[in-house]
């Protein structure tokens, strides 16, 4: 069985700063993998490199056997990586349902003239999109908010909607950037249950960035620890969290 994601020797500099250096990792199919590290360690930069927001100076990214190095963001999405953002980025002025339908963009199509002239293909595809989007909203317990404006939802629901939108693109790999940021312990617990559920229900491979140690140790099987753009430790969660260097650099003594 081949790996879902293989990253080899990835690196990028901004001016004189080497933000990420010699970053390599392998995520297996169906795995729940964690990327941790102190603030400014380069975690989000790694996500941006994987999704084509930045182009790497060095290295290679292979998704499910396909080289996606240096592809544009939209092409990476079509290749099968979906993501959420550290500071939630929804389509704030659009209804919740349309946020998810936008995620379905590349899977249900009709031509522009068909949309303007309301041809049968428009009605048929829109109906299918509505059904599919409502299904996803139900999974995330958002079906009652379908008509509301996304920007007006409470924080926890916005996080869930962002994940629903990402899953609408039918990805092979889901990247979650600090999904528990700003959540209280109860919400974090619910989030953990939800991530587990998503993994099982959608048979999804998940790579997540997280600060919350309880969440990381609770659900991730393997971890990579970043510090100053370099890999500090890599391995099973238990191994990594007891690694002496990790404890000094990140967890504090």
């Amino acid at each position: 069985m081949s790996s879902m994601l293989e990253v080899n020797n990835l690196g990028i500099s901004f001016g004189g700063l080497r933000a990420v250096n010699e970053f390599s990792m392998t995520v297996e199919k169906g795995e729940l993998y964690g990327l941790i590290g102190p603030n400014g360690a380069g975690k989000t930069t790694v996500f941006n490199l994987l999704t084509g927001v930045y182009r790497p100076d060095t290295g290679k990214v292979v998704l499910d056997g396909k080289d996606i190095t240096g592809m544009r963001t939209a092409a990476v999405s079509r290749a099968g990586i979906a993501r959420t953002f550290q500071n939630i980025r929804l389509f704030g002025k659009m209804p919740v349902l349309d946020n998810v339908k936008a995620g379905l963009h590349n899977h249900y199509g009709y031509s522009t003239p068909a949309g303007i002239l309301r041809l049968p293909s428009y009605r048929k595809q829109e109906k299918r999109m509505d059904e599919k989007a409502m299904e996803l909203l139900k999974v995330f317990d958002l079906e009652k908010d379908a008509e509301k404006t996304a920007g007006g939802l409470p924080y926890g629901k916005q996080r869930r909607l962002e994940i629903a939108r990402a899953l609408a693109t039918e990805p092979k790999l889901l990247l979650l950037d600090e999904p528990a940021a700003g959540m209280n312990p109860k919400e974090t617990q619910e989030l953990m249950d939800m991530i587990r559920f998503v993994r099982k229900e959608f048979d999804m491979t998940i790579l997540l960035i997280e600060h919350d140690m309880r969440l990381v140790s609770g659900i991730c099987e393997r971890l990579t620890v970043l510090n100053f753009g370099e890999i500090l430790a890599q391995g099973s969660t238990q191994e990594v969290l007891t690694h002496p260097e990790v404890i000094t650099a990140y967890l504090g003594e």
Binding site: A74, F85, R89, M94, G103, H105, A168
Partner: protein, 349 residues
């Protein structure tokens, strides 16, 4: 939400149709002043311009200050077509229809080639560059001379005499003096039909997969890219459709004038249309229709004020701005006229 959207759309078509029927019957029975009669076609032109600019400014969220440029291209190419076809096509309606198609296509072409480099920019930079392109279009058309004689078309960018035409030649586009003698084919009915077509295209586009993509880019470019939406493609699509509609409006405008000169399509015209869009509400299509109508009629109605006319006009603009955007006034409106809105909300829940 679906139901509400449909109702707002039907309301838009309904108001436009009702206004047309009222004005048309007033015009036919002769109870309309000649001043108002003269305003009917320009109102239609400005409504189409405002709705098409709203597509770029309100729906795709990009500030464009060059809308008059596309109107100019459409006006000149449409009028040129009509002058060439004056003897071939004798039906005024058909000629105008074909001229509008020509105007829209040429403006769309310009929208596309200007859009490709310009839409890489955002915000203020995009605004400045579109402004520049609008002026460039105007100034280039200002020095174009085209004539026709037995040998065919003659083209120059210097003056009328360097066209080198046979004595029987006819000048079609005469530089800064523009086009004279365009057949006066524009009618209120034609304007009304153009408005309906524009509304149909814009409202249906907004409520489709493409419209969702365009609005997604407006709300968060990065997130739109992350779900696989091709940002350049949709921005360009929006810009081109908007330019085409402005071109068709320009053609209608040209067929309402005895003399068409490029200097009319200056920065002020672009800003005027932008004012309609902002006062009507960004992304609010019915708002654009109403604002364009009121603000086209208003300066004419205020003529009796003589020197104070523009002063009062500005004050009314400010008052409309406050009425539409001030949070306190919005709250007051909600409290007194909110019944309709509330009913919508209940339905949505």
């Amino acid at each position: 939400m679906k139901k509400k959207k449909l109702r707002v759309n039907l309301l838009t078509y309904g108001i436009v149709t009702a206004a047309f029927i009222v004005m048309q019957s007033l015009a036919v029975t002769g109870s309309l002043s000649s001043l108002m009669k003269g305003l009917l076609v320009p109102i239609c032109v400005y409504i189409v311009l405002a709705v098409s600019l709203n597509l770029v400014v309100g729906i795709s969220g990009e500030l464009s200050l060059g809308h008059a440029g596309f109107m100019c291209v459409g006006a000149f190419s449409g009028a040129f077509f009509s002058k060439c076809m004056q003897d071939t096509i004798t039906s005024g309606g058909l000629r105008l229809f074909l001229a509008m198609l020509v105007g829209a296509l040429v403006a769309a072409f310009f929208g596309l080639i200007i859009g490709i480099p310009v839409l890489r920019l955002r915000g203020d930079y995009l605004a400045i560059v579109t402004l520049a392109f609008g002026e460039i279009i105007k100034n280039v058309i200002n020095v174009i001379y085209i004539g026709v004689d037995g040998d065919g078309f003659h083209f120059s960018m210097k003056d009328q005499f360097s066209l080198g035409m046979a004595p029987d030649g006819k000048v079609l586009i005469n530089g800064a003096q523009g086009i004279t003698g365009t057949p006066k084919d524009a009618t209120f009915l034609a304007g009304f039909i153009l408005i309906l077509v524009t509304l149909f295209i814009v409202l249906n586009l907004i409520d489709s997969r493409d419209g969702r993509a365009i609005m997604a880019i407006r709300d968060s470019r990065i997130a739109a890219e992350s779900i696989g939406i091709n940002v350049t493609r949709y921005k360009l699509m929006c810009f081109t459709i908007s330019a085409a509609l402005a071109g068709a409006a320009g053609t209608l405008y040209a067929h309402n004038l005895a003399t068409l000169t490029a200097s009319k399509f200056n920065f002020n015209t672009s800003i005027l249309v932008l004012v309609f869009v902002v006062l009507g509400g960004m992304g609010n299509i019915l708002g654009s229709v109403i604002a364009a109508t009121v603000l086209t009629v208003l300066p004419e109605m205020l003529r009796f004020l003589n020197n104070y006319r523009m002063l009062i006009y500005s004050i009314i603009l400010i008052a409309m701005m406050i009425y539409n955007w001030s949070p306190q006034v919005l709250e007051w409106r909600e409290r007194h006229f909110g019944r309709l809105l509330r009913r919508d909300r209940k339905e949505a829940e």
